[in-house]
Symmetry: D2
Subunit: 341 residues, 4 copies
């Protein structure tokens, strides 16, 4: 069986494991206060073009989101997300479990716009309703779309005018940054967000996400929140070491570029076969719409998720590629698809 089910079906990029092995027996401090975490922080600050950001390492995305958002908000404040937002749909109410409502707007492409956020603000005026405070976006989004630099600047401006925090879930940030036509760069991020995280798990790490806190008043005592939520890893070095390796050269973006390239090949191959898509996604997730019996036949050899019903006879499926996707897997899929269509 070949899996296009997600971007975390394999272990880590071999260089990551090698790096872990090489430093394995060095004694160092626990809880992220070791030399590797420290070096990784400095390296990331360099890439981000700012020494004024705090960086903390986590073991997963849901954990990062829930610790950050619950630390940033007061009890009566709420997050705003797209209806497809990961925190709203696929984190088992993790944000609500910390006491905060997630307000949503419907979207076709998984992206929030200032006018949609304005509608939420307009509908929340007094203490009988929660107070909208933090805008949550994911980039790439849950449906593989990306925010351009221009769109992010617009969101940023809107949030500043309205005293809202802007937070980015970067589980698939690598794929967004190297998506075709993207004008966004690492060094833009600290100016655009109050906080965001750089996803490692879905881009070559064994596990690990790097939260970057840009806004000064969100930094204080942050490690208390991590510890309280069980997110301060004893051997934090494991996380630091991986980011150090991913960012030592261009590995992080190279891995994302490979994932996108594989998705591009799948996309183009599907298009040549006359297949249409649920949404136009330039990243490592694509959503071709296929007849249900075709989907059924593909399942004999491939693992992937059915995303949504298109009509009585057809559904959109989700194909995800990663740093580890093999070109032959792509060709094999396209050939088999051609045969069963």
């Amino acid at each position: 069986m070949i899996s296009f089910n997600n971007d975390y079906s394999e272990g880590a990029h071999p260089r990551i494991l090698e790096a872990l092995c090489n430093t394995n027996l060095v004694q160092d401090n626990g809880y992220g206060e070791d030399q590797y975490c420290q070096q990784a922080r400095e390296l990331l600050q360099e890439k981000l073009g700012s020494k004024d950001v705090d960086i903390h390492f986590f073991t997963g995305g849901t954990q990062t989101n829930l610790v950050a958002i619950s630390a940033f908000l007061r009890p009566h404040e709420a997050a705003i997300a797209a209806e497809t937002g990961h925190i709203f749909v696929h984190e088992t109410g993790a944000i609500e479990a910390t006491g905060h409502k997630v307000l949503t707007v419907p979207t076709k492409d998984g992206k929030l716009t200032p006018s949609q956020i304005q509608e939420i603000l307009d509908g929340h005026g007094d203490e009988h309703m929660v107070k909208p405070k933090l805008v949550y976006i994911s980039n790439t989004t849950e449906v593989g779309t990306v925010y351009s630099k221009g769109e992010l600047k617009e969101l940023r401006g809107f949030c500043q005018e309205n005293n809202l925090l802007l937070y980015m879930d970067g589980a698939r940030l690598g794929s967004a940054l190297v998506s075709e036509g993207m004008d966004l760069q690492f060094a833009d991020l600290p100016k655009l967000f109050d906080a965001f995280y750089i996803g490692g798990t879905k881009n070559g790490a064994l596990l690990g996400e790097a939260l970057v806190i840009c806004r000064e008043d969100l930094k204080e005592d942050f490690r208390y929140h991590m510890k309280q939520k069980g997110a301060l890893l004893a051997k934090g070095r494991v996380l630091g070491m991986q980011f150090l390796e991913l960012f030592r050269d261009n590995l992080y973006l190279d891995l994302a570029a490979h994932a996108n390239l594989m998705a591009n090949k799948l996309r183009e191959g599907c298009q040549e076969l006359g297949v249409s898509f649920l949404v136009d996604s330039p990243s490592n997730q694509i959503f071709p719409i296929l007849p249900n019996e075709v989907i059924q036949k593909l399942r004999a050899k491939y693992i992937f998720a059915t995303w949504s019903k298109a009509d009585e006879d057809r559904s959109a499926i989700r194909l995800v590629t990663s740093w580890a996707t093999k070109e032959e897997a792509v060709y094999s899929f396209l050939e088999d698809l051609g045969n069963v269509l």
Copy 2:
């Protein structure tokens, strides 16, 4: 510098890393539903002598404690712990952050007795106070002492009579099981506890704890709680693989035995130098009481924690050994101690 600061100063035992490397590129399911987690569960069930236990893998001890305890208790129910209990002191209020009070009793040796728990029960009679429901013990305790099988049986009986859940934090379970004179074995545990965890992080793993749920009515929907608290690791295989390696043969207990042996050598060496101890601990943590100026001199070469003040001039320090502690480190410490005493 040589560290006796804790048992998580190094990475993982080499066999662990080797195992991760060997299976690295195999595609498998996420979130602990892969073959390695499944095999590790079956292997642990075998060691525990029971197929009727559910096993879940976590990335750390605080995370395990908070997810388990908050899943097991209703909102008005409280945990009971020794005043030295990790959940009470060193988890930044993680249990309280899930809404539950931790009731405590003072202890000299970090261990709870039925009569102490009875006092708590006697003092909690109606709805104006929380309802004591779960007894939390750690084994080894935070001060290195251990519960014998007889003591655990007594606690178990008491808890059953009083409709209390009995939960064991096994961050250092390995060290307890191989401590001198210990009559407790893996296969005893499912009969003694409603739930407990087998600590990996402090006994050779890169990260990882295995929660074992024995009581039927605590099992339902448990993965929901893990996900909601950010504790369902995407590449769960990383955790399963490690427990598979630790329990494939006797590695887990061998590593703990080495740690205890190193602690024994430190203990005996200190005793020969006329040093006394805060508490009699037969495990991988010892607490010698030393003159403050001696402590100061040792710090030039060794890293360790000052635990408590003994009198005006002397303090107890904590020395922790692990699977990775080198014999020469022990001898070096004892020699230097002899010289400065």
Copy 3:
């Protein structure tokens, strides 16, 4: 100024105050364990035709909802409500603040149907999403509509088949029970719901809601939850006494009937003037659609809420009547409306 703003603009029905005065200096137990609360419980059990229900008194609706729902659900379980549901919109995230997500479906008339709930269930299949568990309805709804006995039976059957709890917010239960054509009676309620509350504040009491718990396994330790949430009133007698008075004879339903009668007169008067309504509501809340300049003129003399925009020039307003609404206020409003239309 005359207010049609809500049904809690006045104090209590005079008989309520009289009852409080008459028993004022009798010494009795605190926290709802007094003779008046006990008598009120027995009286309500009699009206409900069941001795197998537990009854607890609260000071307000949001408090009742949050204590009940958080006591009934485990941490990963969620409530289902109409998008207009009070717990979703107007309780400042009170349910989420206890850790529980509220899942919603869009409705035109504020009412939930089995097929809508089925859609929610269909979309929630595994531990990456919350587990839908409790269906929250209000009767009358937030837009003044009512559930018939038949509709409730259908909901009840659906919930039982799907292992869902059915809970009714009865802030305006009186108005529902005496609405035109309603076939529902007090004695039906324990068979239809796992729990519900009988609203006092909006139907003549100074303050007070009576929560009725019908389902056996929801009853245990309920007073702990009340106390923990600050909802156990020291002089609980104040609440019991009021329900005792409201249900001593037919006062509770008489007051609701007066409110409905006043709303009927308003409705008919508006209709005679050619005014249409946002929704067809047979209870004490009506939502006429009026030109914005008419609304502006009415505000010179009347207090009421603008509910929603109908089109560029017109809005729906909400007029609420109560036990205390005077017939001359109704006539005055209609006359003035006729003049400015």
Copy 4:
């Protein structure tokens, strides 16, 4: 039976009920935005000698404490209280249920001192433990003792130096202010506390506590927290009206003075009979130590709580007086006590 069980066994002082009756049918805004609440706020500001305080009305003490403390603290911050503190013992873990640990120090007289708080601070240094932030005291304390103005000034200074919030539970503030030798006055309070509440329920009100927030940065959005915790009473006028009546003249302090006078008579009467006390309490709670068989005999006619065991044969009981305690009840008790001693 005559009750000395607590100070909330009766309804309200007759003037309170009269005031409620007189204004009962006036239409006004809900949720504390009515004229009576507004007037009561202004009146209290006048008594407190400060227009710079925000005042909010609650229905009970536990509710006030939990809403205030959870609004004031960030998730990782903890409260410090005496081991006898109401929030630690008798509120069913209400503070922990909002996510915050309560740290305690043992006390003989229920009072906190700077040196005790310093010990807590000394023991809490990093992110592995909660961060102590708010000092909770009650005045009078749970054992009837009082803080003098000098003691409060000292606490205040200590808290300011250590960046701690100082909060007073004033459930029995009236009794404290009129206790013998007390030099504290209403107008001192805003200078001494960041926030405190003036208890109504235990001093003549039907229900009601007035929270006073003095510190600027604790005021923002406070009503959101009230609503979210179910503490914003629909007919808030009921609370405002009562405080308006209690503070229109000297009624509040007069009622407290009566309660203290009755307790004084009980105390002196006991002393004349050779009875000793658990603690020297100058307020409306006294704790005589009596032989167990005497206690048993007194129960035939009097209701009161057994507080603690003194030795094998004797226990301390708690006698509470109130504004409603009748002088003949006191004499009757003393006479009966004399007969059975």
